[in-house]
Amino acid sequence: MQIRLLIILLTLLALSIFKVKAQSPNALYYLETIPQTSRINPAMQPRANGFFALPSVNQLFQSDVAFRDIFQDTGDDWVTPLSSRYDYSDLYRVTGSTLYLNEYLDVDLFGLGFRSGRDYFTFALSFKNVTEIGFPSDLFKITEKGFADGETFNLSTMRLNQIAYKELSFGYSREFTDKLTAGINVKPIFGMVGGKTDINRLELQTNRTHYDMIVDGTIYSSAPIIVEEGEPGDFPEDIRDKELEDDDIVDYFTWFKNPGVGFDLGAVYDYSDQWSFSFALNNLGFISWNEDLNSLSFNGEYRFDGLNVDGSNKDDLDEAVDDIVDSIKTVIHYDTGHKSFNSSLTPSLYFGAEYNLTNSISFGALSRTVFQKYSTRQDFNLSANLQPYSFVALNLNYSVRVNGSNGMGTGLTFLAGPLQIYMLADYIPLKHATVYMDDDEFTMFPEQQDFSFKFGLNFIFGRHGYSDEPMLVR
């Protein structure tokens, strides 16, 4: 007993010294003691018969590149992308056509759930913010090759998607048979502010005698900004923020405009007492933006073939430069409007397999595929889930992302009476190094590309679990 207590305390101590960062909730998937598992797979019914969720925070950061991709280790030293020893093929291998930087922030305000026979009902209210930025890889050609004669920079994959919205999640799960459980989350969504780019073509062709720029796209926004239109076809005269009163700000958080809907689907199949297989498809949905709308479409081809100098401007080239600016504005056709637009949610597909060694030990394998425009993100995860006692559960996992990073993750939940505290972290930065750059010195996690973190509190009712699944097997 004393040894066990010592090990537990050491484990908790070890965990506490880590600089846990945000993590995708891979650890959450198999931690059935945490009611929020139903947010990933709506078929998964929490162990608790009922719960009330207090505010929680989930932060996720994803990057296609790590520090070691930006600065490369040549063996002798680390070099910047400006070095002739820098290997751009390595960089392109991790970025693909687009380098994505994603940031997700969820703030769950509250939630609740309860069991009724074979059914489980859940509800949650949350605020979510999604920022997805895509940088076309061709931008790196600039430092790789420069603006060479005959080069083409395809920047069409440039992307910005920013949405902030409220989500109400109504979940339902049912044990249809002893083996099969299926569930659905229906999520009415109400957008607060949003913006996105829809670029069909953005291309720069550089030649010694001319540069060609081809553009075709639209920028949409639903936000408190004012666009002053200029002449038809011209760039807007002015774009500025709308001044908001406090009441206006409150409106953005409380209104039910910009409606949308999302769906989560899931199923769990208990093949045997040891094996179970699961599937989930999340975030199928969209938001339809129709408030505070502004759109800017641009279409055209512009050729720069040098300053045009003739008798009228040869003594003052500023005029020739102004002509270029004016011609860009006129050759590129701009169309301002107030078009409504839709933002798609970013769907995720999960496939899982779990082996229950005992009632308190299980091993899991999980595949997660995130579908993003111009990019698909694939993670594989192996985990061990331990619940040595009814009041504590632990997940240890290891995730690998294809063309990305890999790392350890963990989750911990602890019950103190009805209060459940949980912390989850994925892609824990285990490797760190001290970086010396010019006169600066700082600590960096050179291989880190992803991290997520989730922390929350629940009130658990019926927390002792199933009578036929005691918390501790002796």
């Binding site: 910047t80 550089t206 030990i361 010019d438």
Partner: protein, 547 residues
């Protein structure tokens, strides 16, 4: 089985506890020897230079564009031949004495004796000049009449040909007792004078008529005395025949600076195909003139040049005549007469003379009035008293140049251009491209070198008179319809760039050798629409400076 959990727990815990500290990372940002070399290619400018711009840039008031678009130098000198003496209205002052007894006086019914006499006020007595009438601009008449003492008479003085508002000047006096002397002054400005002619004596005059009704007896010695004066008479407009008179302007000169910019040793490499001298007479005097432009010669007197003088021969003669018709008038407005004469290669040796590169044209201008006209030809003269004769030299840009060379020095402060930044040493090579589309009739060879502040040659950018621009081919009218395309590039290596910076390049010398199209067999014309279009672009390979 239950004991399995503890080791598993420990293993996982150790894995978590094993947070790895990796080796320190030293990032090399000083890539002075290691920077990537990037290529930058870009267009710089599309420059269109036309004949019109040539005129504009020359900033020379004499450099113009003709109606047909041909560029042309024009030098004009206005020469005024003064004809102040064409009309001379003499002052007049005479004393007249009249003895009434000798005039066959008439007795009238009222007992008075009437007698009259007429005198002439002569304005001109040149044989060949006749004045018919004039509108007076300025003029004054005064006369003093004295009758015999104790006369009792009525005197009327009429000047019938001096009209004031259409009425003749008339004055009335009454003499009585001691009141026998009368004075009259009249400002006749604005009046009209009708003149008579005394052909035999070649005089133009107007009359003064005096009528006296005398009461009393006159003796033989009783005389009426009149002191009559006319002075300061000037015409507003005068009609008549102004005679055959001569006025001249000697050594009238036109200076031109056309050859000031051309190196004296190289002027024989440029020859002109055609030029012309225009003589334009504008005559606001209602008198025809015959103008002789005589002793026409070109001079070369500028510094550092051998002086020279050449006569201009027109059809073999060193003079030319121009008949200038007189002006016309409708009484209100004067319509000038004019005459033009052109000298060109067809009727003179002007081209041969001009190809000696003179800087001055000098001539004598003599004009004669009414040459070939008789006195029946009506003349007039208003306020204008000058015969304006403009001489213009037209030098069209119609030339042949055979390896005309010039050297120009332009500022090329390399350190100033590059902000004295030694990062410019990272440029591995710099190629500047010029793609020309030439509709100018010039071939251009170029040599360019760079100097330091002490005029030492640092480097040659273009050596050995590189052929950079090829002439277009003119058609029969001198127009180039198809542009001649040529390209050349200037390449600078890293060594050159470093050298320019280290040795502080200050100036660039452009040695240009220009030849026109087929210089031995043809002359070319430069029009305002002639143009040189160039596309300037560059390619550069450079190492990026360190962070």
């Amino acid at each position: 089985m239950q004991y399995f959990k503890i080791p598993l727990f420990v293993v996982f815990s150790l894995l978590i506890l094993s947070s790895c500290s990796e080796d320190d990372i030293h990032i090399t940002t000083d890539n002075s020897e290691d920077n990537r070399t990037l290529e930058f290619s870009a267009p710089l400018a599309r420059v269109l230079y036309t004949g019109y711009d040539m005129v504009d840039d020359a900033d020379n008031e004499h450099f113009k564009i003709r109606e047909d678009g041909l560029l042309c130098f024009e030098y004009t000198e206005e020469v005024f031949i003064e004809w102040d003496d064409l009309v001379v209205l003499n002052d007049f002052s005479e004393q007249w004495e009249f003895y009434p007894i000798l005039s066959s006086p008439l007795k009238s019914d009222n007992g008075s004796t009437s007698f009259s006499f007429t005198e002439k006020v002569i304005l001109n007595n040149r044989e060949d000049v006749r004045y018919d009438s004039l509108y007076v601009k300025e003029g004054e008449i005064e006369f003093d009449i004295e009758l015999p003492d104790n006369s009792d008479a009525s005197i009327t003085v009429v000047i019938p040909e001096v009209l004031d508002g259409g009425k003749p000047l008339t004055y009335q006096f009454d003499a009585s007792g001691a009141n026998n002397r009368f004075y009259q002054y009249e400002d006749i400005a604005g009046m009209f004078v009708e003149l008579s002619q005394d052909v035999e004596e070649s005089q133009s005059y107007f009359s003064v008529e005096v009528d006296i009704d005398y009461y009393g007896e006159l003796s033989l010695i009783d005389a009426v005395k009149i002191d009559f004066s006319l002075f300061n008479l000037k015409h507003e407009m005068i009609y008549g025949f102004m005679g055959y008179q001569t006025a001249e302007k000697l050594d009238a000169t036109i200076d031109f600076d056309l050859f000031d910019e051309i190196d004296v040793d190289l002027t024989n490499r440029i020859s002109f195909f055609d030029l012309s001298i225009g003589y334009d007479a504008i005559n606001r005097i209602g008198v025809p003139f015959n103008v002789k432009v005589d002793n026409i010669r070109f001079l070369r007197e500028r510094e550092e040049v051998d002086p020279g003088e050449w006569n201009l021969l027109i059809d073999g003669e060193n003079f030319l005549f121009v008949d200038v018709e007189g002006a016309n008038t409708d009484g209100h407005e004067i319509f000038p007469g004019s005459a033009q004469k052109f000298l060109d290669r067809n009727n003179s040796n002007v081209v041969d003379v001009f190809n000696e590169y003179p800087d001055k044209l000098v001539c004598d201008i003599i004009s004669q009035s009414n040459e070939g006209y008789d006195s029946d030809h009506l003349n007039f003269m208003g306020q204008e008293s000058d015969l304006q004769t403009d001489m213009t030299i037209y030098v069209p840009a119609w030339i042949s140049a055979d390896m005309y060379s010039r050297k120009d020095t332009v500022e090329f402060d390399f350190r100033d251009i590059t902000d004295d930044d030694d990062d410019v040493d990272e440029i591995q090579n710099f190629d500047l491209y010029f793609d020309f589309e030439n509709k100018l009739p010039f071939d251009v060879n170029l040599t360019v070198w760079v100097l330091d502040e002490y005029d030492n040659i640092i480097d040659y950018i273009i050596e050995d008179e590189k052929y950079v621009i090829k002439s277009g081919t003119p058609d029969s009218d001198g127009f180039i319809n198809e542009a001649e395309e040529t390209s050349f590039q200037i390449s600078l290596s890293n060594e050159q760039i470093v050298k320019y910076r280290e040795q502080d390049a200050k100036n660039m010398v452009l040695q240009t050798e220009i030849s026109t199209y087929d210089p031995e067999n043809s002359y070319v014309r430069i029009f305002d629409s002639s143009q040189l279009f160039s596309i300037i672009s560059f390619t550069m390979n450079a190492r990026i400076p360190g962070l």
